[in-house]
Each structure stands twice: as C-alpha cells, then as structure tokens.
C-alpha cells in the first residue's frame, strides 16, 4: 500500500464504517465499537497524512487510464491546507463523538446517530481530499444529507420547524452548487482543479464573472456569509447539543474552505471589493445579532456568522500573508467554536436551558466549566495570548499593510462587540446566584465524559496558542501551497501545446 492510499482511505474507512454500523444497527455495543474504531482510525490516518504532506509536499492519488484527459478519472489531492483541516476536523469529530457518548445512556441514543455521523465524517474527509469540483459537490451532499438527519434526530417540534429552514436553504445551496458545477463543465469541459485555472482564464469575462459569482453564492450560502446567513442562527440552536457543536465547528468552515480554494485557484484576485463588503457586513451583522440574543446557544450561533466575516476578510485581502492568517484563523476557530458549544451543552444538561435569565451561578457550581468557557470565550474575543489573538493580529496586520482602514476598524470594533456578548454570557450564566434547575429537563448523567471531551477540545485550543509559532509557519507554507495547482495547471497546458 502506498502513502497515496491514505487519501481514498480517508473517505472509504468512514463509509465502510457507516455500512457496518447499519448492518449492526440493532447491536448497540457493536455499533459503538465500530464507530469509535473508525473515528479513531481516520484521525490517525489524517495525522499520518499531515506529517507526510508537510515532509514531502502535496500528495496526489490518481487512477490512471492511458490517454484519458485529466480529470476524467478519480483525482484526489491533499496539500498542507487540506491535511491541516483534515486533522483538526477529525480530532473534533472524535471529541464530539466521545462527548455524545457521555451525554446519553446507551439505551437512549438513537441507532441512527452513528451511521449518519460516519457519513458526515466521510463527507468532511471527501471535501478536503478532492481536486475536482464534482467530487466536491458530492462531498457537500454527503455532509448535508447526514446533517439533515442529525439536525432533526430527536424530531421534536422545535427541531422539525428549524430543521425545515435548514433543509430548504441547504437544498437550495446544493442546487445552486450543482448548477454552477454543470455550467463550469459546460464552459470548460473539465472539473479538475489542475485543468480549470488555465481553462477558466481563457473564458470571456462575462462568463468568468457569472461562474465566479455562482460558486461564490453556493459556497457562501454554506459558509453563512452576508446576506445568506439567516438559516444558520435559526437552525443550529435547535439541534441536539453535540450535533450543534460539530456543525458549528466544522460545517461552515468547509464552506469557507471551498470558498478559499475556488477563489484563490479558479478566480485569483477577483471580487476583492465585493468580498470586503461581504466580510464587513458578515462580521458586523453577525455580532449585532449575537448581542441581541439572550440565550447562550443563540449568541454563539450568531458568532459563527460573525467570525466567518474575519475569514472572508482575510480571503478578500489576498496574498500569502493574509491567507496565512486566514488559515490560522480557521484552524483556531474550529476547536474554539466547538468547545464553546460543548460547554453550552453541559450547561444545558445541568440546568435544562441556556437562557441567560434562567441560569445563574454556573461558576459556583462548576469552577472548571467556568474556566473552560472563559478560555474559549476570551480566545474568541481575541484576547492574548490565546489563539484568537494570533489569528486576528495576522488578519489585521495584513489589512493595515494594505491600508484597508475602514475594514480594519470594523474588524476591531467587532472584536469589542464580541467581548460584549461574551461578558454578557459570563455575567448572566456563570456569575450570580445559583438558580433552581428545571426538574423536568435538567438531568445530569455521565458528566465526566462530557467534561473530559470538552476539556480536551479546550486544551487543543490552548495548544494551538502555545504552538502558534510553528503552526503559523505551517499555515504560511499552506498558504503558499494554495497556488500550487495553478502551477501544475500551467505545466499541463504547456505540455499539451
């Protein structure tokens, strides 16, 4: 088996797991064993991939058919950006799995949770290892369909209602994406990341603009950028706790990943002004939404949107320095966001709600929980020496270097507003008198496993801050990698001429 085999295995292993977990669906212990083995296995694979890629450069796995044009057959590819995202995503998926195993007794867990979860794992993997637009569409489908199942897993009225918003908007997104992919193929005759840059560059400008904007809208809807973000804060809070955590941490970031990929590779240096507007509005509208809420889960959901704005800002600024910071920012956001939602899940498990006016004194009840929240919240607000600070400094520095004063000012203001809403949560939920628990909802079991999972994610966030130096060098190399396929593309075009 060659090292290239890791790429397909990243997808095949969780799919095998999904199949197996369906076959043994009624044997819970077996199912859980399968799921954990698979999740741990993919995590190990992703780490191996990261080490390999960082040592030897991007890896490509191609099914070669003599004389077939590029992109006809399977063409998997992972560079540093992709493998970094894979590792962090797999770690999150594993941690959340552990958390959800602790959340409910074995008998309470829906037997469909783990199969759907594994399909989502496959989708996440597939999105990162692909070098083909249609593959990417299929990957998005995988994680969307499994997310539909997960978001409505318990099927209560609230979930059905908000799940409907989620499904309708995301089906629209799929349709849009499929349309965009089809039109790209119609115009260029290829969907391969290696052949597309050159092919798109030859298109007339109107077509370029159209394809560019269509892909931007499709992935932007997934990434929840302004003005296409509304579905997110409406649907995420209703989902089961761990599901929200993993959605919050990962799914939108895959949209961002796809945005970064397509924008840097297929349409380099376009849309800058548009993206800057989007970035600023996403940040500010998102954070205002967060400030307006009075429920921890909803506040955090709006923050997902707001923080996406920073990533778009980095993308809009462009260039290696800004993209380095952006990749670092995405890297840091995934565990931070996940951990905040995991903490929220514990609060809700203990008290039955996460409304600021119904819960109080959590710091008194559980010091470690408060500490975990504080670390992640301050990181989100960009307080040094936590990871959020490094990411923000990177993006803001790039912005100041390019003299985008207004955007930088907005970014800093949003940082302050983020602090406002984090303090709102802290002073509402963690300070004050301990409030009585709703006896119908506030049931606590297996707290330890949930806390351990949340703590490990928080620790990962702190670890990112501690190792920020080497990691930043890594993301710098990853940002440089982003332009590699274009070089390969030129080589291909050169060959064929």
């Amino acid at each position: 088996m060659t090292s290239e085999a890791i790429l397909p295995l990243m997808v095949l292993v969780p799919l095998l797991g999904a199949g197996a977990s369906l076959v043994v669906a009624r044997l819970r212990t077996m199912q859980t064993a399968v799921t954990f083995t698979v999740a741990a296995g993919t995590t190990i694979l992703s780490i191996a991939l990261l080490l390999k890629v960082d040592a030897d450069g991007p890896i490509r796995a191609v099914t070669s058919i003599p004389e077939a044009p590029i992109g006809v057959t399977l063409d998997l590819y992972a560079d540093r950006f992709a493998s970094l995202m894979l590792v962090i995503a797999m770690l999150m998926l594993l941690a959340v799995l552990l958390y959800s195993a602790g959340q409910k007794a074995a008998g309470e867990m829906s037997i469909w949770y783990q199969p759907a979860y594994l399909v989502m794992v496959a989708g996440v993997s597939a999105a990162f290892v692909t070098a083909d637009l249609f593959n990417l569409f299929v990957a998005v489908e995988l994680l969307l369909l499994s997310s539909y199942v997960l978001i409505m897993l318990e099927g209560n009225d609230e979930q059905i209602r908000s799940g409907t918003t989620y499904v309708v908007l995301n089906v629209l997104e799929s349709t849009l994406l499929l349309m965009a992919v089809a039109l790209v193929f119609a115009a260029t005759g290829t969907l391969s990341f290696f052949a597309l840059p050159a092919a798109i560059a030859e298109l007339p400008s109107g077509i370029q603009t159209g394809l560019n904007l269509l892909l931007l809208a499709a992935f932007g809807l997934k990434a929840a950028i302004f003005p296409l973000f509304s579905w997110l804060p409406d649907s995420y809070p209703a989902a089961p706790g761990p599901v929200t955590a993993v959605f919050a941490g990962l799914l939108t970031k895959i949209g961002v990943y796809a945005l970064i990929r397509t924008q840097t590779l297929l349409f380099p240096d376009t849309n800058r002004t548009l993206l800057m507007w989007i970035a600023g509005l996403t940040m500010i509208i998102g954070v205002l939404g967060a400030i307006a809420q009075s429920d921890m889960k909803r506040i955090l959901s709006f923050h997902i949107v707001s923080q996406i704005g920073y990533m778009v800002m980095g993308l809009a600024l462009g260039g290696v320095a800004a993209l380095t910071a952006t990749i670092f920012f995405v890297l840091h956001q995934i565990p931070i966001k996940t951990s905040l939602f995991l903490v929220e899940g514990i609060v809700e498990a203990e008290t039955g709600t996460s409304r600021l006016d119904r819960v109080g004194g959590m710091a008194r009840r559980s010091g470690p929980l408060a500490f975990m929240f504080m670390l992640s919240a301050m990181s989100l607000a960009g307080i040094p020496p936590l990871s959020g600070f490094v990411g923000k400094v990177g993006i803001v520095t790039a912005g100041l270097d390019q003299q985008e004063w207004v955007l930088v000012a907005v970014a800093l203001l949003v940082s302050l507003f983020t602090l406002v809403s984090m303090l709102k949560i802290w002073s509402g939920l963690f300070w004050g008198d301990v409030m009585p628990v709703d006896p119908r909802k506030g049931v606590l079991r297996h707290h330890r496993r949930m806390s351990a999972a949340a703590a490990s994610v928080v620790a990962l966030g702190v670890g990112i801050a501690l190792a920020a130096g080497p990691l930043y060098s890594f993301t710098e190399r990853a940002a440089e990698d982003l332009y590699l396929p274009a070089e390969i593309s030129e080589a291909i075009v050169g060959d064929s001429k």
Binding site: M1, G19, L22, V72, A122, L145, G189, T209, I383, L423
Partner: protein, 957 residues
C-alpha cells in the same frame, strides 16, 4: 524576568486549583510568592541603577512580530518594586481582612496572577508583549471586580471596567501594529532609539494614547474606576490605585520623551490630564463613601501624573516618577486604612462615622500621614514630589498652554487638599452638621484591630513620611530610575526644603484654598448622595443603545421567515446573472441552435406547461403529479439525445417519488398554506421567471463559449479498454466516476436513514399523545390508503381493493424481481445497471403494497437496513481493494475465464460495485416505504399534519 512570571503563574495555579477553595493557606502562599518577587527585584537593583540592562526573550509567533521580549531597566525596576512590594503588603493585609471566605484560593490566585501580569507589562520590551500583559491585567481585574458576583452592581461595574479598558486595548493594539510596521521592529527600545517618522505615526500614537487613557482612567474614559470599587478594599487598593491604573502611565512615560513633540500627543495628554485632574477632584468632594472619595481622588491624581509623565521633558518626567512613587505609597496606605475602618466599624460612610480617633489612634495617625502626603504637606514625600512637579511645569516653555496647565494643576491641587481634609474630618472628626439623616455608629462597639492588620497601612504611611525626610538620597536613586526614560533626568534632585520660590508659593495657595473649600463643604454637607456622572450615563446609554440597536437591526436582517430567506437567496442568484450578463461579451447567443429534434421540442413544451401548472396549483397532490409529469418530460429529452440509461432511470425515479409522495401526502393538509402577504403570486412568479430566464440565458451563453471538443467521444473510446464495458454511461458511473457514485449511494442511504428515523419519531410521538387510542374512530381514507387500522386487518380499505390489481401484482412482482437482477448484471454492456435494477425491485415492492397493504411490506422477511449497510460495505470494499496491491481506488480488474456449460465469462470487478449500488437502492427505498407505511397505520390526521406543515415556518423569537 520570565522566571518571575512563571513563579506567579505557578502560585496562581496552585491557589486556583479546584477543590481547595476554602484553604486558609492560599493567601500566605501567595504572599510568600510576592515577597520572593520583591526580593529578587531588589537584588537586581544595584546592577540596574548602575546601568546594567538585562533582556530576555522567547519567540512566540515571530512571523507576526509576536515575541515575548523583556527588558529590565530602571523604570521596570521601580514599577516592579512597587508591584511586588505593595503586593506583599496588601496580600499580608488580606489575610486579616478577609474572614473565612470560601473563595480565598480564588482571591489569592487571581492576585498572584495579576502581579505576574503587571510585572510582564512593566518589563515588556516588545509591543505585543506589552499588549498581552495589558489585556491580561484587564481580564484579571474584571474577575476581581466581579468577586461579589451576586450583586448586580458588581457585575455591571466589572463589565463596564472590562469593556472600557478592553476597548481601549483594542485601539491600542491597532496603534501598536501601526507603530511596529512603521518602524520595522516590535522592540520598544529600538523604536525609541530610532523613532519612525512615517505618516501613520501620529495616528498610531493617538490610538496608543486612547488605550492608555482607558487604562489609567483618564477623561473621558475615567468613569469605570469608581465602579471598580465594588471589589473588596484590598483589591481596590492594589489594582485600582497602586498598580493597574498606572499601566497607562507606564506606557506614556516610556513614549513621551521621544514622541511628545509629535502632535497631537502633548495636546491630548494635557487636555485629558487636566480635565481628569479637575473633574476627579470635584467629584471626590461630593462623595460620602470614603472609598469613593479615594477613587475619584485617584482619577484626579492620575490626571496630574498623566500631565507630568506625558509632557516629555526631562524635568517633568523626573517629577512624574517621584510623584508616581509617592502616590503608590500614600494611596495604598489610605485605601488600606479605610479598609481597616470599614472592617472594624462596618461602614465607611463619612456621614455615619464618628469618634474613631480614640478607638483607632494608630490608624488615624497613619491616615493623616498618608493624607498629608496626598495633600502635599511638608515634610511628606508627596510634598517633595509635587514641589518638583510644579517647578518643572513652571519652567516649561509652552506659552498659553503651559499657563493653563499650571492653573489647572493649582486648582486641582486645591481640590486635592480639600477632599483630603474632608476625608480626614469625615472619618476621624465629628459628623458634619448636615448629615443628621444618617444614623451614627457607636464607637464603643468598634473592635481594636490586630497589629498584623495594621502593619501594611502603617508601614506605607511611614514610608510616605520617611522618603520625604530623606528626600536627597531617594531623589538621587529616582534620578537613576528616570534616566532610563530620559537620560537627561539624571541631573535632577529632590530636596525637602527648596527654599522660597514660586512653586512653594503656589503650594501655599493650594493649602489655603483647599482648606477654605473643605471648611465651606463641611458647613454645607448634605445627606443626599452624589449623582451619577455624565460619562457613566453616556456609557450606560451607549451600552443600552447598542443592545437596543442590535435588537432592531437584527429584527431586520434576521426576520425568521423562511420565505424571506429563500427570497434573499434567489435575489442573490438573480444578481449573479445580472452581473454576468452586464459584464458583457456573452457572445454567440444568437447562433445557438434552438433544438435538435421535434421530439425534444415537444417534450420541453409539455414540461414547461406542467411546470407552470405546479406553480398555479393549490393542492399538494396535483403538484406532486405535475412534478412527476415534468420529470417524465425530462426523461424524454434524455431519450432524444440517445441516453437510454438516463431516461430509464429518470422514469423509474419519478415513478417511485410519486409513490413516496402519496404515502406522505396522505397525512398533510390537502392544500398548500397561503403564501405570505408580501409575496403575492405576481411577485413570486416574477422572481421565479427571473431566476429561470437568467439561468437559461447564462447556460446558453456558457455552453456557447466551449471551444474544446466534447469529452463524450473520448470517454466512449476509453470505456471498453479501460473499464471493461460497452455501456459508457455505466462505465462512467461505476468506474471512471465510481468515486462520486459511491458518495451518492451513501447519500441515498443516509437520506433513507433520515426518513426512517423521522417516521419512528413521529410514531413515538403519536403514542405519547395518545393518538393510538382515538385512532379507530378516525377511519378516514384518502387516495385509497386506509390510515387507521390498528392491527390485523391490514391493507387498503376494502372498498378500494382491486381484485385485478391484486392478481396482476402477484404475477408481476416475481417477474420484476428477476428483471431487476438481470438489469443489474447486464448494465456494464447494455442499458441498465445497479441503480436502475434497484429501482425496479423497489417498484415491485411498492406495487405489492398498493395491492395487498402494509402487511406485505412488513412481511418481506429481509431487513432493508441491513441490505443498505451491506450494499454500502460491498461498494466501499470494491472501491478500496485495489489499494491493497498498491493500485488506485476504483481501478477495475477484469477476469476472463471459462466455465463448463456457459463458456467464456468475463467478470469485471466493478460489477460487484454495481451490486453494492443495487443493494443500497433497494434497502433505502424499501426501508423508507416501510417506515412510512408503519407510521401510516397509526396516523391520526390533523395533529401530525400540523407538526409537519412546513410551508409557513416562523422561527422568530
């Protein structure tokens, strides 16, 4: 230096570690840690003052200039001594101040962490190092102000303090980044040695000053400080008078000698400093809480220090350093004295205190001494330092601005004298005549404080006096310290008695004027509390305005209405098309061929009509049928292009989808719910038309620009040699693009899982709501599907049973089953394949259901879920097995061998992949049908329909 940080960090962690909250040892441990810090810095003193400078650094994120740089020079030394010296005393004092609180570990740990952060701040030589510790002190201060978190006032005060200092910090961060990029380094000593003259420097300095003003409580960002007094007194003494609020001054003092000449530095510093000096003094005169008098006094004193340290001449810097030292000593002493009074008496309201002079003579003496230093009465150190300050200000050559500044300092100093007198009279004198409304305390009940408790305030007061008496040597030593800020300040000296000069004359004016004000106030003392300052009001209004504004804006940007969200998304899509069309050169639109064949044209026309019908119809059922019809139309188009596989699959899918619709629609309301009033039919029609036409135009234009020859030809020629199959569509699906197929069957499986899960949840929910009980009464039928049989009698309602259908089905189902297998296996070479085969079998199952009822589906004997799982497993294994031999995934292996009787057999590995597809399709569809049918048996009508009615989704909260 880093070791000292680590020490404080470890002490903090030990104290904060969970489970040890109530330990009494936490405070002694932290005190000891502070004391070690103090001793360590003291051991460095002689080396530092003789000019030896040590630096330490640790690279954190060097790419962004984020390094931890520390540099121990005179200024850091002085601040370090104050931080750890006063820290030791305050912590020792806390041991007596705090009774058995459950959170002693938290207090001790946070104070230790704070001392570490403050030390990092003063020893920082990197811009980001500075900022890091700057923010850390804000965070810890937030937690300490909010220590009494049950009080909403404390929570508000903590939040306010954090937001103001944090907001200032963010401004400062921007300034620091600008400064570092303008000078190409983030090392403060290098920036000061070679100051940048770039155009952004003034902006950078303004931003840095905003941060410094916020932290050092300067107008207009001063208002958080009095609120911070919500913290227990030792904490206020340490953080909010002696150390943290000096952080802004630390930075200003470092930058001023180099940057003071850059406008608007001096203007900002003098304005903010003077206003703070006057405003703080005036407000201190109106407080009744002794601690608040000191707090407002701190704002005032910090204003004076801001002026002295910010002007940037050697003389003022020197005086500022001296006055800062004096201030740290006397203000800490005063706070701690008031803390003793509060602790022993139970109040610190000067309207209630009386007769304490006799009960607390030592404390009274210490308070008076420290107070004298604050009011700059000789022979205290405060007097010596302020004389130097006045002298330096008088010698400034700043014209009118200088005069104004001196006037402000004189008036402010008079206020200082006045509030000092008022404080001393209020706490230790008799009650003022106008305060009868407040019950006086009973001095007889006042307990005598222990010597340990009194030690810290007395020692600090003593030092305030002693340093004044030995002003010469102290002044010389401070000169060495100040020379690290401005080398020229080494030439200055302190003397206890400067002789009769104009500075002394001004001092006399302040004493006399201040005493007069104090006397007047004493006569006119009133019961009423001082009002809230306008800056606080402004802040509160802004904060509330932010919340309100956020709510209003969010109500607009986030309506909670699904139709709006869809509308916005579609509008975005339309904008994309418009932008593309406007970008021009969508050439060749005119030369596009309209159609290839009349069949195509007819199919498209029919489809179009059906589509319009979907939009017009009010009934769900008709919409489902029309949708199916449109799908058939599309299949005909596929057929006209010579794609039988696609057409066949499309027909099957549409058929099955209609079946599934029927199962679901049985439980939904008959008609669609009404559209929202803002989007009447016309509007929605226009929207739909714009999207459709835009897409069509763009698609035509896009296809027209293709210059490369079609991929199809090449694929066709590759199918047989590479994929081992004659049917190119199938080869693409299971081989070339098998990866995507694998993903899509997983999508199908998981979709089925979703249907099965939701159906099960709905069934459970109906059980819970007791719908089973009422079900038999609910004998309605729709579309011939009986909805409410509980047991036994399964199948369509008798009147709907068709003998013909039942009989035909019995014969047809086995035929269909065999056909489906055949289709699957021949797929590689002729139209068919696993997908089509699976659909055929599923249709057979559906047929049986319609003929014989739900029981037939349940009695199938196979578990569709296992089928689905097995199919997925098989497909994934076939896709992955070439990896084992070093091949690429999905690579086909072709086996040729001869079997007896049958002859030559060619087996392609991808056929097994197709079997996997087949199994997944059958499992998914049958699983979904079975789940819906199962629910069907127990379905009540209206309630479930309500739950599932999804057209009008209101999620606004």
């Amino acid at each position: 230096m880093i070791a000292l940080l680590a020490l404080q960090g470890i002490v903090a962690m030990i104290c904060l570690a969970p489970g040890r909250r109530s330990e009494r040892w936490a405070i002694p441990v932290a005190t000891f840690g502070m004391f070690i810090g103090f001793i360590w810095i003291l051991t460095q003193a002689s080396a530092v003052t003789s000019g030896e400078i040590t630096t330490e650094n640790w690279n954190w994120v060097p790419q962004l200039g984020l390094t931890l740089d520390f540099r121990l020079d005179g200024w850091a030394l002085l601040m370090g001594l104050l931080i750890f010296g006063i820290g030791t005393l305050v912590l020792g004092y806390s041991h007596f101040y705090f009774p058995k609180r459950p959170d002693l570990g938290k207090i001790a740990g946070l104070l230790a962490a704070f001392a570490g952060a403050m030390w990092g701040l003063v020893a920082a030589n990197g811009l980001f190092t500075l900022f890091l510790f700057w923010e850390l002190t804000s965070v810890i201060s937030f937690l300490l102000i909010g220590l009494e978190d049950r009080s909403s006032a404390a929570r508000k005060a903590a939040t306010r303090a954090f937001l103001v200092t944090g907001g200032g910090g963010i401004a400062m961060l921007a300034g620091l980044i600008l400064l570092s990029s303008a000078s190409g380094t983030s090392e403060i000593s290098e920036i000061l040695a070679n100051p940048p003259t770039n155009g952004v420097v003034p902006a950078a300095l303004v931003l840095v000053l905003i941060g410094a003003f916020a932290k050092s409580a300067q107008f207009p960002l001063h208002f958080w400080l009095p609120g911070a007094m919500a913290a227990p007194t030792p904490i206020s003494a340490y953080l909010h008078s002696a150390t943290m609020v000096k952080a802004g001054l630390v930075v200003v003092a470092r930058f001023a000698p180099v940057f003071a000449e850059v406008p608007p530095w001096r203007f900002m510093v003098l304005t903010a400093g003077s206003i703070s000096l006057l405003l703080g003094g005036m407000r201190a005169l109106r407080q009744h809480d002794a601690k608040l008098i000191l707090a407002h006094g701190t704002v005032s004193q910090l204003g004076l220090l801001m002026i002295l340290l910010g002007v940037g001449t050697a003389g003022t810097t020197y005086a500022g350093v001296a006055l800062l030292t004096a201030h740290a000593l006397f203000k800490a002493s005063l706070f701690l004295n008031i803390g003793v009074v509060d602790h022993q008496v139970g109040t610190r309201d000067i309207r209630r205190l009386r007769g304490l002079l006799r009960k607390l003579p030592v404390i009274a003496a210490a308070t008076v001494t420290a107070g004298a230093s604050m009011a700059a009465i000789p022979p205290t150190f405060g007097f010596v330092a302020k004389e130097k300050g006045l002298d330096a200000l008088l010698k400034l050559d700043m014209g009118f601005a200088g005069t104004i500044t001196v006037a402000a300092v004189v008036v402010g100093s008079a206020f200082t004298v006045a509030y000092t007198v008022r404080l001393l009279m209020g706490v230790f004198g008799n009650r003022a005549p106008g305060t009868a409304g407040h019950p006086p305390v009973n001095p007889a009940r006042v307990k005598i404080p222990s010597w340990g408790f009194k030690f810290a305030p007395v020692l600090l007061a003593f030092l305030s006096l002693l340093f004044g008496l030995i002003a010469g040597p102290v002044g010389d030593w401070l000169g060495k310290v100040a020379s690290s800020l401005d080398p020229a300040s080494n030439a200055y000296h302190l003397v206890l008695w400067p002789g009769l000069n104009s500075a002394l004359a001004l001092s006399v004016v302040t004493w006399v004027g201040g005493s007069a004000i104090a006397w007047w106030l004493y006569r006119h003392e009133r019961d009423a509390d001082a009002g809230v300052g306008f800056a606080t009001t402004l802040y509160d209004r802004s904060y509330n305005g932010l919340l309100l504004g956020a709510r209003k804006i969010t109500a607009v940007t986030h309506s909670g209405s699904l139709p709006v969200y869809v509308g916005v998304a579609l509008a975005t899509l339309i904008a994309c098309f418009v932008a593309a069309l406007a970008a021009g050169d969508l050439r060749d639109l005119g030369t596009t061929r309209i159609t290839n064949s009349p069949i195509e044209l007819g199919a498209v026309a029919v489809t179009a009509v059906l589509t319009v019908g979907i939009l017009r119809t009010q009934r769900r059922f008709s919409a489902a049928l029309l949708l199916g019809g449109a799908g058939y139309g599309l299949a005909i188009v596929f057929l006209s292009y010579g794609a039988p596989d696609l057409a066949f699959t499309q027909f099957l899918v549409e058929t099955l989808v209609i079946v599934l619709y029927l199962l679901v629609l049985a439980r939904l309301p008959e008609k669609f719910s009404r559209p929202p009033s803002w989007a009447p039919g016309v509007v929605r029609g226009l929207f739909a038309a714009a999207v459709g036409i835009g897409l069509a135009l763009f698609a035509v234009a896009t296809s027209a620009v293709r210059s490369d020859y079609p991929v199809g030809d090449r694929l066709t020629s590759l199918a047989e040699p590479a994929g081992g199959g004659k049917n190119v569509v199938n080869v693409i699906l299971v081989d070339f693009r098998g990866w995507d197929t694998l993903g899509e069957i997983a999508v199908l499986a998981v979709a089925a899982v979703g249907v099965i899960n939701l159906a099960a949840v709905a069934r459970r929910e109906m059980l819970r709501r007791g719908l089973f009980a009422s079900a038999p009464a609910n004998n309605g039928t729709r579309f011939g599907i009986r909805q409410s049989s509980v047991d036994g009698d399964v199948g369509p309602a008798p009147q709907w049973r068709s003998v013909i259908l039942t009989t035909t089905t019995r014969g047809l189902v086995p035929v269909l089953a065999v056909t489906s297998v055949y289709l699957t296996f021949r797929g590689h070479n002729a139209p068919g394949g696993g997908f089509a085969g699976g659909l055929v079998l599923s249709i057979a199952v559906a047929l049986r259901y319609f003929a014989e009822g739900p029981g037939s589906v349940r009695k199938l004997g196979i578990d569709p879920i296992k089928l689905m799982g097995a199919g997925l497993l098989l497909a994934a294994i076939v896709a992955g097995y070439p990896l084992a031999t070093g091949g690429a995934p999905m690579e086909s292996t072709i086996w040729k061998f001869t079997l007896p009787l049958i002859g030559q057999v060619k087996l392609v590995s991808s056929s097994f992949f197709d079997i996997g597809v087949y199994l997944v399709v059958v499992g998914s569809v049958v699983g979904a049908i079975r789940a819906l049918v199962d629910t069907d048996e127990t379905a009540g009508e209206a309630n479930l329909a309500d739950d599932l009615a999804t057209d009008e989704v209101g999620t606004t909260r």
